[in-house]
Structure formats: structure tokens, C-alpha cells
Symmetry: D2
């Protein structure tokens, strides 16, 4: 009897050990509503966790969602200490910018380009100073048409360009989600629809969108 | 000596006759500030008049500017009777749409897509009913960068697409200025500048812009 | 028996005669979604028709709704021939301006003040030239708070002021709906709520709003 | 001769002593372009320094400007450590909010009401935790007309109301600049002009505006 208990305890210990190895790489996904939904059953963070498990790497990575709907870059700055640094992540994936552009149209409360850059740089520095590796992403889409005829495309392309330069200037890894998504749309969105391929509503991801985002991010994260 | 004078008079008479033939083709250019400036010494209408004279066709065409700064499609509708139909043109070139998009950003007084189409169709019908041939143009540029990163590019591309469909649906001739300008920018705007190639300020044309516009329009008009 | 039938027929004839007298005053209400809803069972035009009947004046007035959702002053101009003049009204009540201001916020497609005035003046002239008496109204509310803290209040007050001047300049009767509504709110909206007193959603009228609008308009119309 | 020099030195020492007493109350004015201009020769901070000197209190107060053009509440948050806390002020006067409202109209980059409140509360807490007394101000004007017909009046009144509640909730002293300015306009802006009484351009203060602002603020600051 005692042996049995002991061996169960041993088994648990092994399981614990294998699931939470001495030091899994802790990754915080820091973003807006897409990231908030990323921890849902079909969200991109949940899917990436499954992909990692399927590759037998469950013990190596711990993925944490830190997304809040409606967030822009300055909202991330306001809450980065409490919501990110306090969790002591090894890696922080910043995926922000859609609302900074989109809210110019919807509520006239977007973010000026120069301030977007200033807050983004300050945020990167703070997270790096706290000991995390920072990875940044270009924004995905506001409308899925692939001929640059979605209302916000001009501005969104410009902000994506800024993020590419921010990555270069700060020498942080870039995940070029906008490029990946647009390449996907060109191949798969034959009818040039505004939504319904990777998104439900031009912005928020459907299951295909979450899967594609998880794959695109994971392809980079696994190389870090 | 007398013969000489007589022959000079004869020459003049012929010239006069050839300049104002019984029925020159009267063309009204109906648009916004770019067309208002089109009748300036270096404006596109003035330049086109010179091109026509250089081709010895001065007697065949009469070009009239009817542009007013800040005009959108509904402003054209308001003044089409007084400013166009009253002049009994054979041809009306409608070149409108920049402010319908641009003013969304600058003064939040742009034109909704569905209303843009409704006013455009009504305007074409009115001008046709008054006996004019109607030719319509896609809008040129709001920003000269050719990678679709000018703030209004998405919306401007969309409105250009609407105008192409309006031309098709109404079976009127189209001058695709936006395509022509963008092709020009790709070839000549090596540094991908926002202004200074064909415009002074991202929208209004410099002399190169006026020349290119005159050439682009004339290439179509001469075929009518 | 025959006499009885005859007298019933006579009675009906009299009723018919009194209800549709040789020349009832035909009034067209020309406006936006509020006027479109005005012909609903609880709409303000329906209610005014009932008030008129209650005062025994049913034969004297014929009320016709000509409202379309989302309309601004230039939309009225586009459709005034077909939707108003074609109906040969004695009186036209123009009640427009909310969307001209509101759409600046919601879709960045409001109407510039100078163009608002130009289209309004042109519209009045067209309707007068067609033989109708024109009556114009200030816009009601975008938000029911009565301390001038509704987002669009500044602009809406400015456009209301423009309409008062347009009435004066064109010497047409004014129904100052904005003043009437604000006076009502001060008295009855004790909690200074943004909606729920006269509107369902800050703009569109609930039944109390439709009743108050009918009363306010009728008080002026009966004097014409 | 020597005595003379000595007495001059003594005089200087007394002057220095009286100007910089052991511990003058250090006040930082934290704001936007109006505060940036406040340290100009005719700016409100310069004028307040003169008023204080005139009252013989020069030694008691040290006024420091910390304004940057275009700043909104979140910009203050970004730079509060470097630009305010680092200066160890006894008192911080926060005067912000005009751009948070105004930029909705000018560049569609205003600040949502809920975020305005969140950043404002966070900023107050940070400054208090660093040991400063915090005083907050309602925004002055965007347009000087006193009948609530300036375009942004509705929204500006709403944000002023939010700031009054923030003061109450955080139990910090409030300087109700908007009320003071509006009372002044009612008395002195007889023609109900949009600018030219206290401002040059509807927002930025002329000399009368700087004087009135200095007086209004000093009346409260002297009581702290």
C-alpha cells in the first residue's frame, strides 16, 4: 500500500517535472482584443500551446495571454509593470497597432504616428530593462481585401512600416504578421472579400485566422 | 506690294477660320481645386490647349474650366445646371473624388460611398439628358508614395474602384488617372516621397503634374 | 326603409366631403430617419394627424411623410423634385441637420457649415419656386443632457443658429425644435440623462418624443 | 571704499537669501503647449512669478514650467518621472485635457473618456506616491463663444465634468479654469467672438489670457 502511494507520488513528481521543467521559457503575449481572445478554446495562444504539446515540447514553454480589448500602444505602457513585468517573462511578444489606426475612423481616438513610435520604444526599453527578450509584430488586418482597398490600408501599411523600423532600430526580432496575412489573402481570398477568410468582422480572427496566427508566430518563436 | 498685303489678309482669314471653325468641340472640365487651377498659366487645361494648338487642332476644340476648390461630387450636382449645362458642352470631363475621401480625414466631412455613387450616377444622367457626352476620371493621388502607405490610399483605391464600375454601368468613357499616376510614380518616384514629384503638397499638381495630367487626358479625349 | 338608406348614404357623403374637402392643405414633412419613422403608428406625423382629427380639422389637412434615414441637407436637395415637388404640397416642413453634424463623429461624413447653408438656401428657393410655402426647423437633439455636455452639442448649437439665420434671411417661418426640446429637458430630465426621456438612443424619438414633436410642430402649423 | 564693496556684497547676499530662502515651495506646472508658452516673457508662469514677487513672496515660491505642445494626459504619464518627479516638487499643477478633446476633430487622435480618466487617476497616484501635493485644472477653451456653440464645447464640457469628479474622488484641490474662463467671456466677450478676447486662435492664450490664467491659478495656489 505504502509503496503504491509512494509510486503515485513519484509518478506525479515525474509528471510535474516533465510538464514544468526546471525552467520553462515563459512567454507573455501582450496585446489587444485579438490576444484577449487568444486564450479562448479556439484562440491562437491555446492553439499554439497545443502545437507545442504535439511537438513534445510542452515542458519547455509556458504561454501566458495578456491582451485587453481596445488597447493601443499607450495602454500597454500604462499596464506593462503589473500585467507583464510582474510575471517575469523570458520573452514578451508585443502585438499591437490595429486600434491605434482603426480608432481614428471609429471613434477619432487613434494614435499619432510620432507618439506611437515614442510609446513603442519606451515600452521595449522598459521590458528589456526588466530582463525580458522582446519580439514585436506588425498589425494583421483591418479588412481582408488584398488590393489595398480596405479603408484603413494606407495608414495600416504606414504603421506596419514604422514597426519594421522600430524592430531594426531596437534590434529586436520582428514577426511580420501583416506580410504573412496579406500573402495568405492573395493565395486564399479568391473573391477579394473584406471578411470571412481569416476574420469574422474584418479584424477579429475566426478559427482559421487563429490557427494561421499561431503557426506564423510559432515558426518564429521556436527559433528564439 | 498690294498682292502681298492681300495675301497676308487672306492668310489671317484662313487662320481665324481655322481657329474658330463653325463648330469646335466644346469640352467642359468639371471638378475641384485641381481643375480650378487648371486654367492658370501652367495649369493642365492651359497646357492641353497648347498641345492641341501644337497639333494644329486649335480650331477643333474649345476647352473650358469649371473647377471650384473643395468641391465633392454633391457640390458638382448642386451647380451642374448653371456651370455646365448652361455652357452647352459637347463633352463633359468629370474629375472629382479626392475631397470626398480626403475631407474624411481633414474635416470629417467626406462623402459616404453609397451617396458618392448615387450623386455620381444622377450627375451623369443629368448631363447626358442635356445632350453632352460624359467622360469620367478616377481620382489622382492623396500622397505620392507608391507602396500604398499614404494615409488615405485604402479609401481612395476603393472610390477609384467605384468610379470604374460607374463608368462601366453607365457605359461612359473612363480616364483612369489614378492608375496612370501610380504607374508614373513607380517609375519616377525612386525615393517613394509623399510629395514633390507630381504634386506640391501630396494633392495639388506641380508643373510636371499638370503636364502629365494634360497628356493623359488628351490621349483619351483625342479619340472621342 | 328606403329613406333610411338614403339618409345613411347622405351622411356618408357628407362625411366623405368633410374628410376630403375640395382642397385640403397638403403638407409634406421632408427629413431624415425621424421623419421616416414619423408615419409609423406612434410616429409624430401619425400623432399630428390624430390631433388634427380630434380638433375636427381632418378635412382641412393632408399630412405626407417624406423622410429617409441617414439624410443630410444635400440628400434632400438630390431628391426634392421627385419626393416633394411632384406631390404639389402647399406647405413643406424641412426638418434636417442632425446627420449633417452627427455623421462628423460617426462616419466622418458630416456637412461643412458653409455647404450646409448653401444647399439649404438652394433647397428653399427650389421649393418656393415650385409654389410651396416653406417652414424650417432647428435640429432636435444628439444626446438629451441639458448642460451642453453631449458630445456634439457645440456643433449642433452652431448649426441650429445657422438655421435660425437662414429662416430670417429667407423670411420663412421657423419651428425652433432645438429650443423647445431643450426647454422640455430642463423641466423633465431631472437626472440629466443622455437618453430615455424623449429619445430611445440619444437621437431617435420614443413615444413621448413623437408626441412632444407633434404638439410643437402643430402649434406652429395651425397658425399658418 | 572697502566698506562700500562689503556693503554691496552684503546687499547681494540679502537679496539672494530673500530670493532663494532655505526651502521655497517648488511648484511644477505640468501641461501642454499653453504651459510650454507659460515660461515665455508674457506667459502665465512668468506673470505669476512677477505677481508673487510683487507681493514680496519671491523667496517662498519656485515656479517651474513642464509643458510640451500637443500633450494629452497619456503623454504626461509617459514623461512624469523624468520631467516632474525628478524635480522633487512640493506641488504639481496638472493642466491638461484640451488636446484630448480637440485632436478628435483635428487629427482623429483624441483620448477616449474612459482612458482619459484611467490615465489621469494613475498620474495623480504616481505623483502623490512620490511625495507631491497634486492640484488639477479643468481645460480652458476651444473657442471663446460663451453660448456653447464652439464645435467642441459639448465634449469639452463633458471632460471638464470628468475632471471635477476626478478631483473629488482623489480628494485633490481643483482649479476650475473652464468655469473661470467662461464667466470671464460672458462678462467681457460682448460680441460672442470665437477668438481674440483671451486667446489668439481659439485655444492659445494672448497676453490678457495669460494674465487672467495667472491670476486665477495664483488665487488658489496662495491658499495651499
Amino acid at each position: 500500500m505504502k509503496t503504491k502511494i509512494l509510486s503515485i507520488v513519484a509518478l506525479f513528481s515525474i509528471m510535474l517535472f516533465s510538464f514544468k521543467a526546471d525552467n520553462p521559457i515563459r512567454i507573455v503575449f501582450f496585446g489587444d482584443s485579438i490576444t484577449q481572445a487568444g486564450v479562448n478554446p479556439t484562440g491562437y495562444i491555446t492553439k499554439m500551446t497545443q502545437m507545442i504539446a504535439n511537438e513534445g515540447l510542452a515542458a519547455k514553454y509556458e504561454l501566458i495571454g495578456a491582451g485587453i480589448g481596445g488597447n493601443k500602444v499607450y495602454d500597454l505602457y500604462l499596464r506593462h509593470e503589473e500585467d507583464v513585468i510582474a510575471k517575469k517573462p523570458n520573452i514578451v511578444i508585443i502585438y499591437i497597432g490595429i486600434n491605434d489606426v482603426w480608432h481614428k475612423s471609429t471613434s477619432r481616438t487613434g494614435t499619432d504616428a510620432d507618439k506611437f513610435e515614442r510609446f513603442y520604444n519606451a515600452l521595449i526599453k522598459r521590458l528589456q530593462n526588466a530582463g525580458s527578450q522582446v519580439v514585436i509584430c506588425t498589425p494583421t488586418v483591418i479588412g481582408e481585401r488584398h488590393d489595398n482597398s480596405n479603408e484603413n490600408d494606407g495608414d495600416l501599411n504606414f504603421y506596419a512600416g514604422m514597426i519594421r523600423k522600430i524592430a531594426e532600430k531596437n534590434q529586436v526580432k520582428l514577426i511580420d504578421l501583416r506580410k504573412a496575412f496579406m500573402d495568405y489573402e492573395v493565395k486564399n481570398n479568391i473573391e477579394n472579400k473584406a471578411s470571412g477568410v481569416l476574420t469574422t468582422d474584418r479584424v477579429h480572427l475566426n478559427e482559421a485566422g487563429n490557427t494561421f496566427l499561431a503557426e506564423t508566430m510559432w515558426a518564429v518563436i521556436k527559433t528564439l
